[in-house]
Symmetry: C2
Subunit: 357 residues, 2 copies
């Protein structure tokens, strides 16, 4: 029988609750397909800061690297918000992304027919939205050097960061995005600010060059300010979007909110080789942590992505997706997506429903 | 009688049409208040590139500097899209902003009761939205150095830009934003990415420090990705937003699209002293240029901002705003905001309506 090792990183806030139930779902889905999954839980984020004094202990990164895939809950919370940079939970997240080399972050924003009313957009605008944002995850202004604090020629204190991309970094994320677009609607929109930024000019030039390897994919370019508008005006015009780290951070969150149900949205971060990192796009929601109220479906769908993109066990992924659809069709909802005529369930019960395959 | 000189920069695409009609409106509104306005038209953007080979001729900047206020139409078009950086229309815009020192860009995003249906957001979400985005306009990644193209230690070509803010730059934009918030709803939300970027950490620190000068304004902080979501989820939670140049570019466009009528939205860019720059937030719309179809109201409302913020003639500004309201109440619309039961007018005719004071 095939056997894989999964590193679980529950993290902070609602992270532990949603990872616990997603782990069950994963086990069951795997076993139905004759796949054995072994789990090990490691510390990350605020939990690691409290227990070990750093947001990403060496053992955690080593264990993650040695495993076949990683499932992350969420990190962060008010408690650590004023920590210095190297002691922020977020720094742990950035370091594990860099440490694993997962440069491609896939963030679907799909409006499910059962949940179209959850969107703040008019039904006819939201209906049928199905966008995949491919965000560059290990480069750009998040990691560029020089960075820090200094003094300018007037003697004033400054804070600075460097947005930088190399041809190799752009080419590899562009190829992933073209591959993704090819398997979806065949349309790729590259988002940049090439009318102002040199980093974006190189981005546009290289994405255009890589396009010749994918003649079946239709490439377009859009400025980031316009993209932020078009996502509100007519999100259905988009199929696959590829963009840099910071624009991807902003636009993928905007796109996810357009679906109205960010408690439903998974993500996958993958590299050229080595294990991928799978996580819900929502945060740690400290205000509802420990109350069994969180929506577990984003993490459960992240587990499905883990099976599909991380382990290549697509059949098990399909089982999970089908179970989630059935759960929604049956009218079961957590509080965040609850509406008149549906049935309010707690996190663990909803997960249990989605487990029945 | 008071007398002021106005530099008109019609620019490209629909720019000349909307500036021409806004000029008429300005004249009439001024004369009703006993204010004489003298106009001089100068070249900028693609028009300047075609006529003079540069996007911002020295005479244009000199004339603008010597005048009391500047009204800009729009710049850019497909024709110049592939120009080198120093020959892009956009570079002319960046240079005039820097040349005038207009570091504070005020971008209102208001959902007018007459146009609430134009928003793609549900009526109950869009209704009553009234946001002012205060964007830092002459610093950050738009202007930071070093910038350009280089080679990294692997010998690969790179493109790079520098996001940098000094204490003085942050303090002055923060003060403008607090002043604006004080005159509005008394709430200021500062948007940054202080969990990742040093430039944002300094931003947050200084905005927090300046807050002590404005005890009557309620300050909050939000990460830019969350702000992009919250604008879609519940835009009414915002009163005044202050943010850096690039985040302001993205978020103000997103906010404007939430109103559903970007053909209606003006903007003002002001400095510590010297003339301000007033322009519609929409672009040059080359596809409808020269057809007398453009919505002139954004430029007409920019003219009102010019009178109010640029010249301090608030009574004349009020006349324009009242005329625009009346025009909308009478059911007159251009194509972009036309709906059943309203009357379709061309640009010049709609402007004429808004001129009757
Ligand atoms: C927590 C933060 C560092 C992170 C990011 O900006 O990448 C988050 O917003 C995300 O999008 O995963
Ligand atoms: C045209 C472009 C350079 C400009 C900007 O990014 O500032 C525009 O998008 C704006 O917001 O005024």
């Amino acid at each position: 029988a095939r056997s894989y090792s999964i590193t679980l990183l529950p993290g902070d806030g609602i992270g532990p609750e949603v990872v616990a139930v997603a782990k069950d779902v994963l086990s069951v889905a795997g076993s139905k397909e004759g796949v054995e999954l072994r789990f090990q839980e490691m510390l990350m984020g605020g939990a690691a800061l409290d227990a070990a004094g750093v947001p990403l202990p060496d053992e955690t990164l080593a264990a993650a690297r040695a495993s076949d895939a990683i499932l992350l809950g969420a990190i962060g919370g008010y408690k650590w918000d004023n920590n210095e940079k190297h002691l922020k939970p977020e720094t742990g997240l950035l370091n594990i992304r860099a440490g694993l080399g997962v440069f491609a972050n896939l963030r679907p924003a799909t409006v499910l027919p059962q949940l179209v009313d959850a969107s703040t957009l008019k039904k006819e605008v939201a209906e049928g939205v199905d966008i995949m944002v491919v965000r560059e995850l290990t480069g750009g202004i998040y990691f560029g050097k020089p960075r820090g604090f200094g003094t300018n020629d007037k003697g004033e204190e400054t804070g600075f960061n460097t947005e930088i991309y190399s041809v190799a970094e752009i080419d590899r994320i562009a190829r992933v995005a073209f591959e993704v677009a090819r398997k979806r609607g065949g349309k790729l929109c590259s988002v940049d600010k090439a009318n102002v930024l040199e980093a974006s000019m190189l981005w546009r030039k290289r994405v255009t060059a890589i396009a010749s390897e994918f003649p079946d994919v239709e490439l377009s370019h859009m400025y980031v300010d316009n993209a932020a508008m078009q996502l509100v005006r007519n999100p259905k015009q988009f199929d696959t979007i590829v963009t840099n780290n910071i624009f991807g951070d902003i636009l993928s969150d905007e796109a996810s909110m357009i679906t109205g149900s960010i408690g439903m949205l998974p993500s996958a971060s993958v590299g050229e080789s080595g294990p991928g990192l799978f996580e819900p796009i929502h945060g740690s929601a400290p205000d509802i942590a420990g109350q069994d109220k969180a929506n577990p479906l984003a993490t459960i769908l992240s587990a499905a992505m883990l099976l599909k993109y991380g382990l290549g066990v697509e059949s098990a992924a399909k089982r999970i997706e089908a179970a989630v659809t059935e759960t929604l069709d049956n009218g079961f909802r957590t509080g965040d997506i609850h509406s008149p005529g549906t049935l309010y369930l707690h996190c663990s019960l909803l997960a249990h429903q989605s487990r029945v395959l």
